[in-house]
Amino acid sequence: MNPINYLYLSALLFTIGGAGVLFRRNAIIVFMCVELMLNACNLAFVTFARLHGNLDGQIFAFFTMVVAAAEVVVGLAIIVTFFRSRHSASVDDASLMKL
């Protein structure tokens, strides 16, 4: 199969993730959509690594996974404290500072 197709898939996944971040209202879902975007990047990296025949992209994918894991730790901590103090994870409720 032509590896270019994986690039199309990765762009599609990235777009789905981006649309989810913009349109969904639950902080957890928004965060999952960000993770989907990161994984779409991974797919693109691995595909390009195969196209170019060098390993940089594969190494990058590993680093992305580690960074995504670290981001989950920090992100869930923040979202859970937010949820516990207002019993809602909706980003629409985060409006104390709106003028």
Partner: protein, 550 residues
């Protein structure tokens, strides 16, 4: 095509290349010492947190932070004196980190800013005593629900979040690598290394905890979104050039790279370069808070604990502009006819919207946030001048601006009422009558923001606009001067409010700070005046440090 694809797997499995012939990477530890010292201090801070009893932690953490940052600054000065900023500048750690003039200058600025910020983090005299103990501006226990029994227990027990010091140091280390990153992997990892601690620091305010948590959620979700965009841009650039090193990509862009068949397949596709490059730039513009990627700034600056806001406003801007400069000047100079018009638009929008929206603000922290957006626009004007003058003016502006910002936010921590900091502007009315000294110092910072002569703001703005005008961006300079005038209006309005209106009955009082905050404010004021009255030495320093290594 299939032959090219499979060459990778056959060479990787080649028995003619035994493991001991794979070269070990060469790391120049001495040249990376500033960053390594800060990382070491951060790890030491984590150990302090784990091993020391609670009452000893505050002093130990403050000591570790101050000593670590001072040592890192000494290491930077030693490297610069050794010639790494000019003649010996080169790329260390197997092409990952540049040791050159801009990197060392910005690292020095970031470390000094962090040192001053550490003092404001450690301030414990502003809040009234809680159960007989002094408290700082950070939550007793970050995990406790605001207003809950658990939180009251934590407060009664005298808990303090001394973890803020290691978090600060990790953020500083990431910020130091960010402008020195010389490949896209280092760029991305250092971005996350400094962003993740900042998200946490934002959530840890002692007062107004709901606001603080809200700002952390906003900052985190938008920050993660922007770094995902940056990452996809990196993937496309990698696909375009087949390498993630800055020099390698620049060679492919300018067409001097050796063309392999695999490269010929993808480099013909300029869409990868244009989309990838713009997505990476978007990720960086988010961090510098340029319009239209600025929406997070006012909310995050308002909600975060004020010492954190000061640190974030100053140091993040320095680091992110450093990375943006290196990307545009080292990776994409061959593309400048494409990115310059776009950056023109972004700079104009940033200056105008930042200045105009700031006029309507009623909260002093939000006001400073919009002012920081406007300043990002002024700095972008210097970035657009693709010349050594442009680089040196941006370096000088960043150094000048960061100390003014730190000082201004440190003053904001002092003006307090029963509910904590009184940040609403109406509460500041008549402050000059009650506390002339504090109001006068704040006025100096505001005048520096406005760019009045004899302050560092004027010298910085003059340098930036001069570089932009010499590069032919005269319309940009005109817009810049007009929006400076608009910005001056609201800075002067605050000064008038402080000095020429009647103090409110029951208005806020000015807390008497400990020597820590006094040092921070003094450092900010002294830098503001020195860089304003005698800027030449620092301009020369920035001028000497303005050449990127390739």
């Amino acid at each position: 095509m299939t032959g090219i694809i499979h060459s990778l797997w056959t060479t990787a499995a080649d028995p003619a290349l035994p493991l001991d012939r794979i070269p070990t990477p060469k790391i120049e530890y001495a040249q990376l010492s500033p960053v390594l010292i800060v990382f070491g201090a951060a790890v030491l801070g984590v150990l302090v947190e784990a091993l020391l009893p609670r009452r000893g932690r505050y002093v130990a953490q403050l000591g570790v932070s101050v000593v670590g940052l001072a040592a890192a600054f000494a290491a930077i000065v030693a490297l610069a004196a050794d010639g790494y900023a000019s003649t010996k500048s080169h790329i260390a750690a197997m092409g990952a980190v540049a040791v050159d003039g801009p990197a060392l200058f910005l690292q020095g600025t970031i470390v000094l800013v962090a040192l001053v910020a550490a003092f404001t983090f450690a301030e414990r005299r502003l809040d009234p005593l809680v159960h007989g103990r002094r408290v700082d501006s950070f939550a007793a226990q970050g995990a406790a629900v605001p207003g809950s029994e658990q939180e009251q227990r934590a407060v009664r027990a005298g808990f303090t979040t001394t973890e803020v010091f290691p978090l600060l140091l990790f953020a500083v280390a990431g910020m130091m690598i960010f402008p020195a990153a010389n490949d896209l992997l280092t760029l991305f990892v250092s971005l996350e290394v400094f962003s993740l601690p900042l998200y946490l620091l934002c959530a840890l305010a002692r007062r107004h905890r709901l606001l603080s948590q809200e700002s952390a959620v906003k900052y985190f979700l938008l920050g993660a979104f922007s770094s995902a965009i940056l990452l996809f841009g990196i993937a496309l650039l990698y696909g375009y050039a087949g390498t993630i090193s800055y020099g390698g990509i620049a060679d492919v862009v300018s067409g001097t790279a050796r063309m392999t068949p695999a490269l010929a397949n993808t480099t013909a596709n300029d869409a990868l370069l244009l989309i990838g490059g713009s997505m990476v730039v978007v990720g960086l513009l988010f961090k510098v808070a340029a319009v239209p990627f600025h929406m997070w700034t006012p909310d995050v600056y308002q909600g975060a604990p004020t010492p954190v806001t000061g640190f974030m406003a100053a140091a993040t801007k320095v680091a992110a502009f450093g990375a943006l400069l290196r990307l545009l000047y080292v990776v994409l100079p061959g593309l400048r006819w494409d990115w310059r018009p776009v950056m023109w638009g972004v700079a104009i929008a940033t200056m105008v919207i930042g200045a105009v929206v700031a006029v309507t603000q009623t909260d002093v922290k939000r006001l400073l946030a919009y002012s920081s957006i406007a300043h990002a626009g002024f700095i972008l004007a210097g970035v657009i001048a693709v010349s050594p003058d442009g680089v040196s003016s941006v370096l000088f502006y960043l150094a000048a601006y960061s100390f003014v910002t730190l000082g201004a936010f440190a003053v904001v921590t002092l003006v307090r009422d029963a509910g904590g900091e009184a940040t609403h502007l109406s509460r500041w009315a008549g402050l000059g009558r009650r506390s002339p000294l504090v109001a006068a110092v704040f006025a100096v910072f505001l005048l520096a923001f406005a760019g009045i002569p004899l302050t560092s703001g004027f010298a910085g703005k003059f340098a930036v606009f001069k570089a932009a005008a010499q590069a032919g961006a005269v319309p940009l300079v005109i817009v810049g001067v007009i929006s400076s005038a608009v910005a001056a209006f609201f800075y002067i309005r605050v000064i008038v409010l402080m000095f020429f209106s009647e103090p409110q009955p029951g208005g806020p009082s000015v807390a008497v700070p400990s020597p820590l905050t006094v040092t921070a404010i003094t450092a900010g004021a002294v830098m503001t005046l020195v860089l304003g009255v005698a800027p030449q030495y620092f301009l020369d320093l920035a001028g000497k440090a303005s050449v990127f290594v390739r």
